[in-house]
């Protein structure tokens, strides 16, 4: 090869081809996906919780997607009642689909585990509830106080993990994180045709 123009243009052309196929075209197609009526936008507290989730890298162990039951056991395992569709994610920015399941999927954790007290204690010390868990303890999201102030959410920590004196109180961040987890309920019926309205389909000649 002798000309750098061919190298540059060839290299750019192949990449732009891929960009159009995998970024620009899906972007145009998916922008027409509407939120299903049962899916509510996140509240401010849930958004803060989502921020805590992202900040502390929950996504590196927990996925948020239920895959096709035709070739996976996600539905059989009780992680959801149907495969996830693009419409389930319209309020997610950035996405938290995840690539690891060191821990279980959380797409419907709000329906599966609806108790906020359970979640708070589980985040404070997972092994207090699930002895075989390898999830880290997120004790830094909690305060260790001598006495609880009025309005504090006090954790009922079982023996080996409880502090010798005082109480463990959830911070606003911990409460927000739990509010976010409880909001993860995507078990309403899937919107028709994977959320693509007929108008979004290109006219076929």
């Amino acid at each position: 090869m002798t000309r750098i123009s061919i190298l540059l243009l060839g290299a750019l052309a192949t990449l732009i081809f891929a960009l159009v196929i995998l970024v620009i075209m899906p972007g145009a197609l998916l922008s027409s996906v509407k939120a299903p009526p049962q899916l509510k936008p996140y509240t401010d507290q849930e958004l803060l919780g989502r921020h805590v989730y992202i900040q502390n890298g929950c996504v590196y162990c927990h996925s948020q997607q239920v895959r096709d039951p035709a070739f996976t056991s996600d539905v059989a395992r009780g992680w959801g009642n149907r495969p996830s569709v693009p419409a389930d994610y319209v309020y997610d920015k950035p996405h938290l689909l995840g690539t690891m399941r060191t821990g279980p999927d959380l797409m419907n954790v709000g329906s599966r585990l609806p108790d906020p007290q359970w979640h708070l204690l589980h985040i404070y010390q997972p092994r207090a509830l699930v002895p075989w868990s390898i999830m880290p303890s997120y004790s830094f999201l909690f305060e260790h106080k001598q006495t609880a102030a009025p309005g504090d959410t006090v954790l009922n920590v079982p023996k080996p993990y409880a502090p010798t004196t005082g109480v463990i109180v959830a911070t606003d961040e911990a409460k927000a994180l739990v509010a976010y987890l409880l909001a993860l309920k995507h078990d309403y019926p899937a919107p028709a045709e994977e959320g693509v309205t007929p108008a979004a389909t290109a006219p076929t000649p």
Binding site: T2, R3, I6, L9, F17, I21, M25, L29, E194, T201
Partner: protein, 82 residues
């Protein structure tokens, strides 16, 4: 959801066309000729004529046949290549 749409197929074919055009252009302007010369261009002068201590006799004679009388693999000379 969109896979069968003829529009999409035509569009992607159109986008995929430039790489093909550049390839045809490259072939025409002789970008892919003189391949042997290019593959040898990374060697410094006489670099290929040094005797490599790991080569078998057949490989040594092949090297001599291809690149000319071999130079001894003196330790000092080796430093440049290893």
């Amino acid at each position: 959801m969109f896979a069968n749409s003829i529009t999409v197929i035509i569009l992607s074919l159109l986008v995929g066309l430039p790489p093909l055009i550049f390839m045809a252009w490259g072939l025409r302007t002789g970008q892919f000729e003189n391949l042997d010369e290019t593959s040898e261009s990374i060697f410094e002068e006489e670099e290929l004529r040094y005797l490599r201590p790991w080569e078998k006799p057949a490989q040594v004679s092949e090297r001599a046949r291809t690149y000319g009388a071999l130079l001894p693999a003196s330790r000092e000379g080796w430093k440049k290549w290893l």
